[in-house]
Symmetry: D2
Subunit: 166 residues, 4 copies
């Protein structure tokens, strides 16, 4: 590939999840475990909100759409912005999760959110604090969908309580 | 200490960082490295905002007060709520940090926020992604202060750019 | 797939990296970054040694084959044994790495070592200890090769010093 | 403290857990949870063996002395050597643990091993792999004892099986 083509590819890449103006962290994303998240448009300070629908749980069982909240580092000079967000599993879990990651565009132009997460479980006492934190990785890719808040149409209908999730 | 005294201590403990009604995650906290954070009153859904003033940086240099945003798991049945929040280092860093932890009250009635954090640095390409995430621990204790947003009075006045921080 | 076929597949799987008798953690493995490792036959207590040739470094530069040492949990009742090992980067780095993981066989019969690692850098003082530990993930798959200690034939010939690696 | 006194303190510090000649990682260490480990004399290549007696377990229950194996980075130019080791919980657990850390001497001359660990549990399938790894921190300080392999005298006598531990 000549340098001209490379420049073009780079420009295309920058027009996707990177450009400050468009702030394309927003949208619908899916990870390797088929969990979904939908991120809102970014506020001027980089803040965003969204929803997370996990497909995996610590204890099995039914999950619900969970709120997420975070911020993208303002990408003044960095081509690939970093971000972090937290998900709280509301009524069906006593755990909390935090993700931190960076947005990339791979050679084929595909947007990726490369993230590391911590899953913090509630423990009953300070003596059990040592075992409360799990760590892992997730890569999200953009999921193309029809317009609209589609996450809600994907939510399971069950009402069972479930335990911590990702 | 008799069981009556113990009950009293427990009640006092529960009246501090634990009680759902009072949501005392709010306030000023200091960690082992003398970094400070101030957390706002919690919203009805557990969400909170705040400010973080770090004392340590990856590259040395001057720091600034940075915004934080997160949520506390609603402590329906759990005595010690978990929480998570993100800090973004705004104009002086290309990194982002996420904390996840749990609030405890130790035997002497001292409130503690036992947290694990990830510090995500921006890297220039997907090939460098493997090395972008640091992990560590911080324990915060409540810092008693005069009323008011004291974090601002503690902010350094320098204007130098600095690198990622905790 | 009928249950007979499933049983057969399971038996095939168990005959690869799982069987206690054969202890097939030994052999040559490659991860996503094209780093290679060669693990010796396991000792009776699960201990093993080997060599690691990284393709990525914290500071760039030339790498050398590095010794590794670890142990596999004795898989008495667990079909998929866990293991952990450490790599030390000898003369070309002041860092140390530890991996912990588990051996799996995926649906297509491919052996995988799913690992999480920590990379510990040396820091100059206790005050810098907070930033010394990176965390990440690596998946290794078996690399088929001609007989012999092939890692040595793949070693770079340069003599330059380099910095920490994975 | 004058610079002369500081130099003296530094020399004293270097004569403890740091000096390459004496290789003082060996000995008996205790962490915040009262777990104990005993590290052998270091081999010429930095390798060491030892034993670990944990006081905490994932599932409660009785523990046994467990073997550990690791290596210290050869501290050619680094005053404070890094190290890593693995512990395997032999017959009473299906988990494996890896530690990575660095040896420090604090201002009062007290030797410390500042470590981060991963605890890898065995899971039943690749689908559960995401939740298998916990992360945490431990600080070990030297425990002064009478001569001899004292860890064995501290071992619990129970014969019950127990689950993963640190």
């Amino acid at each position: 590939m000549g340098s001209g083509a490379f420049t073009l590819a780079l420009v295309l890449a920058l027009s996707t999840c990177v450009t400050p103006v468009e702030r394309k962290l927003s949208g619908l994303w899916r990870n390797e475990q088929d969990s979904l998240m939908e991120i809102s448009a970014l506020a001027d300070d980089g803040g965003f909100q969204g929803e997370y629908l996990t497909r995996v749980t610590l204890a099995g069982g039914c999950t619900r759409i969970s709120p997420l909240r975070g911020a993208q580092q303002q990408p003044s000079e960095v081509a690939w912005p970093t971000f972090a967000f937290t998900v709280w599993w509301d009524t069906f879990s006593n755990a909390t999760t935090a993700f931190a990651g960076q947005c990339f565009v791979d050679a084929s132009g595909r947007e990726m959110l490369s993230t590391t997460w911590m899953l913090r479980e509630a423990v009953g006492s300070l003596e059990e604090d040592w075992k409360a934190t799990r760590v892992g990785r997730n890569v999200f890719t953009r999921k193309r969908t029809p317009k609209g808040k589609i996450l809600h149409s994907l939510s399971p209908s069950c009402e069972d309580a479930a335990l911590p999730v990702l």
